[in-house]
Symmetry: C2
């Protein structure tokens, strides 16, 4: 067991409390003494990028990451060019929001394709283009390996080892990885891969959610509140801390039951669970 | 691409056509020229073990595997002792049915536990007891790694690498592995691990199902008919054949839509898909 977590490392990803508008999120965080948030592009665009940046600045809140770029695996060249354009816009948005981390979800298999290796190469091709663009704007790309149950329809990068194999083709100041407990908790290679990521300075984000069963249809919205499931968060944090990571720890839970509750109550519960379990 | 599959290698796992009784399965296979089946304990026990053995013998059908033993991860000693008793019965049933392969599903995390490594050690403890018992009866234990989405509630062995780490503690004539495309297709380590399994003679069963999305609630019954999803079966067979495996290839699909159709139609379709895709 590690020592207690420093509560000031908590960052609330806005999707955890999706029922809240950005002003509600800012106000709720201030009230709860939380100083950092993770954001998603769609709600930020809806509220306005500059307007969001100003709101958070005036609220004294730090933005720890922006979700998400990616979806690089299309076979069609035109679609891939459009994805690159959209990712350049995502980099610009991250820079405008003052975060140095853009989370990337790589994309799944194109319709009809069974070629995982080919799809992963197209991810590498996109990183080669986007990495320098992001670096010039002070943004690091963070490849997020998603759980293998998303390999077909969402993300062909399924393990931290695969994410590092991709990231290490590029400078660490351009491309790193996200360590997300929900996606990685089952993998006995994770301790060695977290150490590898730490050695090369590639842990660009650390996110928490618990694994609960049964999974809902479509499996996307089945993440659990910290402490409700199978993940040993203290063991994970010991590995990530041990790898030299000292940054924020984002709680990112997609769960319809949490979204139906009072946002303030969910925020207080999440902060309390973070102190107890992380 | 490999050469066409030898159609005589096809074995139909009875769960693929769960709507059929054992006599219907035997009759259907004969009619379709299929010579081998994989069985499950519950329907065999219901029909009677000796009666099933006689039915299949008289029908000229080979039994390629019996599913399933396992569920070794309980913390409670009494529960583990009962699991061992039940697994000895499963070995006896396999021997009575004339199959040399008992498929093992290891079991998930016990309620409240977050200790995957500890649970995997309890699987090893059980194999140490059961391996010699099975060998004396001419039965090999085949550890089946299940997809990581089952790690919490069904099987703490999630990759072929983990399964081999466990199996290699024991003689290959006692403990090997199941290569099931549904569970392993996403893993870029699989080619190396299949080669490793082949070198030590530990591929005890080879099973096919396709990966389709979206996954249904609970995710257990979401397997796809061959050719409907993301799995490159010819590439998988090339790896398994290349590792020296020359045995039966079992099709094992859990899919409620298939179970609602006419059994004979599903069997014909499955045989046709096997010839085309495997």
């Amino acid at each position: 067991m590690s020592a207690s977590v420093d509560p000031s490392r908590l960052s609330i990803n806005q999707e955890t409390i999706k029922q809240w508008s950005l002003p509600e999120l800012a106000e709720g965080c201030i009230k709860e003494g939380i100083t950092a948030v993770g954001l998603w592009r769609a709600p930020v665009q809806e509220y306005g990028v500059e307007r969001t940046a100003r709101l958070l600045r005036e609220s004294g809140l730090t933005v720890t990451s922006l979700c998400r770029g990616g979806f690089f695996t299309d076979i069609d060249q035109g679609a891939r060019a459009r994805a690159l354009d959209d990712n350049r816009a995502a980099v610009d948005e991250a820079a405008a929001l003052g975060t140095d981390t853009l989370v990337l979800v790589s994309g799944g298999l194109p319709p009809g394709s069974k070629d995982l290796a080919g799809a992963r190469e197209r991810v590498a091709d996109a990183l080669a283009v986007l990495g320098p663009y992001a670096e010039e704007r002070g943004v690091r790309l963070a490849i997020e390996p998603l759980h293998p149950m998303f390999a077909a329809d969402r993300c062909v990068v399924s393990t931290l080892g695969q994410a590092l194999d991709l990231a290490e083709r590029f400078p660490a100041r351009q491309v790193g990885v996200v360590v997300d407990t929900y996606h990685l908790w089952w993998d006995d290679q994770v301790p060695a891969q977290i150490a590898r990521a730490g050695r090369t300075g590639r842990i660009h984000a650390f996110q928490l959610a618990d694994w609960i069963t049964p999974l809902p249809a479509g499996v996307l919205l089945g993440r659990g509140q910290l402490g409700d499931g199978s993940v040993d968060f203290k063991a994970f944090r010991a590995l990530v801390d041990g790898a030299g990571y000292t940054g924020p720890i984002e709680v990112e839970i997609f769960n319809e039951a949490l979204w139906e509750r009072d946002g303030g109550e969910v925020l207080r519960e999440t902060a309390e669970r973070f102190r107890t379990h992380a």
